[in-house]
């Protein structure tokens, strides 16, 4: 099998280095690009994202990637905000997103015992078999940092709870998503990235 040609979509996020280092720890080289041809030619596309949904979408529109990404046929992995952008909309800045997966990200309701942003290690509850989750089990910890979340829906393959249950991992056709940061989720995150790269 040819080695994976991983392209990370350059989307103005400041933390792309940590994702590249995580891939490097798996001996996988990656390219950061906003070029349509390069993204289309990749074996695997990762859509990262830190920051606000409206800003993230504005940057995708500037480079015309809002039209390209929904047409991709290879495995695509959205991480954190990148996962939220795969859905229809986000309450964050009232953003219209890529519209690939039905649903909209909503802000966590603040509560005395639950500070927002939600930051920290949460356990996964695996709801459906999915190639992304091979080798992972209920109770595995992953590192989350976010203020908005997707309800559990038809696309949800793993959930976790912060007050209510929400989507931790999703799959919709060739589009995959992790609300947590696999690049910072120790062995669990490394396994998820490895699983993603094994999807052909």
């Amino acid at each position: 099998m040819n080695p994976a040609q991983v392209v990370i979509v350059a989307n103005g996020g400041a933390n792309i280095a940590s994702l590249q280092f995580a891939l490097a720890r798996l001996d996988v080289a990656s390219t950061v690009s906003a070029d349509s041809a390069q993204i289309r030619a990749a074996s695997h596309v990762i859509l990262p994202g830190v920051g606000a949904a409206a800003d993230g979408m504005a940057r995708l529109r500037q480079s015309g990637l809002d039209a390209l990404i929904p047409t991709l046929q290879q495995p695509v992995l959205g991480i954190c905000l990148g996962m939220q952008l795969l859905f229809e909309a986000s309450q964050e800045g009232d953003a219209r997103c890529l519209g690939i997966i039905p649903g909209a990200a909503a802000r966590f309701a603040p509560a005395k015992t639950r500070p927002v942003p939600h930051m920290g290690w949460n356990t996964l509850d695996i709801l459906k078999p999915c190639a992304l989750l091979a080798g992972l089990t209920d109770g595995d910890y992953a590192y989350f940092v976010h203020s908005f979340a997707l309800d559990v829906s038809a696309a949800t393959v793993a959930s976790t709870a912060y007050g209510a249950d929400f989507s931790a991992c999703v799959q919709w056709r060739n589009f995959y998503g992790a609300q947590f940061h696999p690049e910072r989720s120790a062995a669990v995150g490394a396994r998820l990235l490895k699983n993603f790269l094994a999807i052909r």
Binding site: A14, N15, I16, A17, S18, F21, A22, A24, R25, V50, G51, A52, P110, T113, P115, V116, P117, M119, G120, W121, G139, Y141, Y143, V145, H146, S147, H181, E183, R184, S185, A186, A187, G189, A190
Partner: protein
């Protein structure tokens, strides 16, 4: 961190070298630390930014989140630190001089990676914010009330508060529970307790009594006095959920 090495002081003074940064980072990663915070204590008082080459070296080997603090005084400097692979940036003295920095950082990067570090001292009238604590000669009282500053920092977009209780730091008699409880009342973003950890029960106390989201410690981990796996086992036994 000072000049590329890990140092630790007592009550924020008299720092001594305790180890090499990569070795310590790898050790804590393997022992199960949930997050690491790197304070460049020489950065802020001397008015220079962090030396960023070590951030990339650390980011290559760490698979857990880490935060960099010290001398970040602009959005551009923060961008460099984050681009080097850090998850979060923490601002302290520069935010006291220019509180708008918090708004600017939060707008650019999102609240989730903007930590405001607060060095706080107990005084007769309550709690007061201290500045330039990395340098004995320049360390000073700001006359800001800690509670007011924590409220303001959140309003400006801080996504996390690390409260360093200075009367407790490095003396290992336990976290300043009373002060942390007072701050918890007004802190609606994650609150991290810092300063004073000396025994495993101090960690249990601070989680159960002050309801902090995380507890930070240095001396007891650097010295090996409290191995992280033992601490986690103890916390789990005390009914506190920790990552396996």
């Amino acid at each position: 961190m000072r000049d590329g090495q890990v140092v630790k002081g007592v009550r924020f003074r008299d720092h001594r070298v305790v180890g090499d940064i990569l070795e310590l980072a790898a050790r804590y990663r393997d022992e199960g630390a949930d997050e690491l915070v790197f304070y460049d204590i020489s950065a802020s008082p001397e008015g220079r930014g962090v030396d960023r080459s070590w951030i990339t070296r650390v980011a290559r080997i760490l698979d857990i989140p880490f935060c960099v603090a010290g001398g970040i005084r602009s959005v551009a400097q923060a961008e460099d630190v984050l681009a080097s692979g850090a998850e979060k940036i923490s601002v302290n003295s520069p935010a006291l001089e220019n509180p708008d920095l918090i708004d600017d950082l939060s707008r650019r990067f999102g609240a989730q990676c903007v930590v405001v570090g607060v060095d706080s001292q107990t005084v007769e009238q309550g709690y007061r914010v201290q500045q330039f604590t990395g340098d004995v000669a320049r360390s000073r009282d700001t006359s800001r009330n800690t509670i007011d500053w924590v409220i303001e920092a959140q309003r400006r977009g801080a996504g996390e508060i690390v409260l360093n209780c200075m009367s407790s730091d490095g003396v290992r008699r336990g976290y300043d529970i009373a002060q942390l409880c007072a701050i918890r009342e007004v802190c609606h973003v994650p609150l991290v307790a810092s300063g004073g950890a000396g025994a495993m029960e101090h960690f249990t106390d601070v989680f159960q009594t002050a309801h902090v989201d995380a507890a930070l410690a240095a001396s007891v981990f650097h010295s090996g006095e409290i191995p992280i796996p033992n601490l986690k086992c103890r916390l789990r036994g005390d009914g506190i959920e920790v990552r396996a």
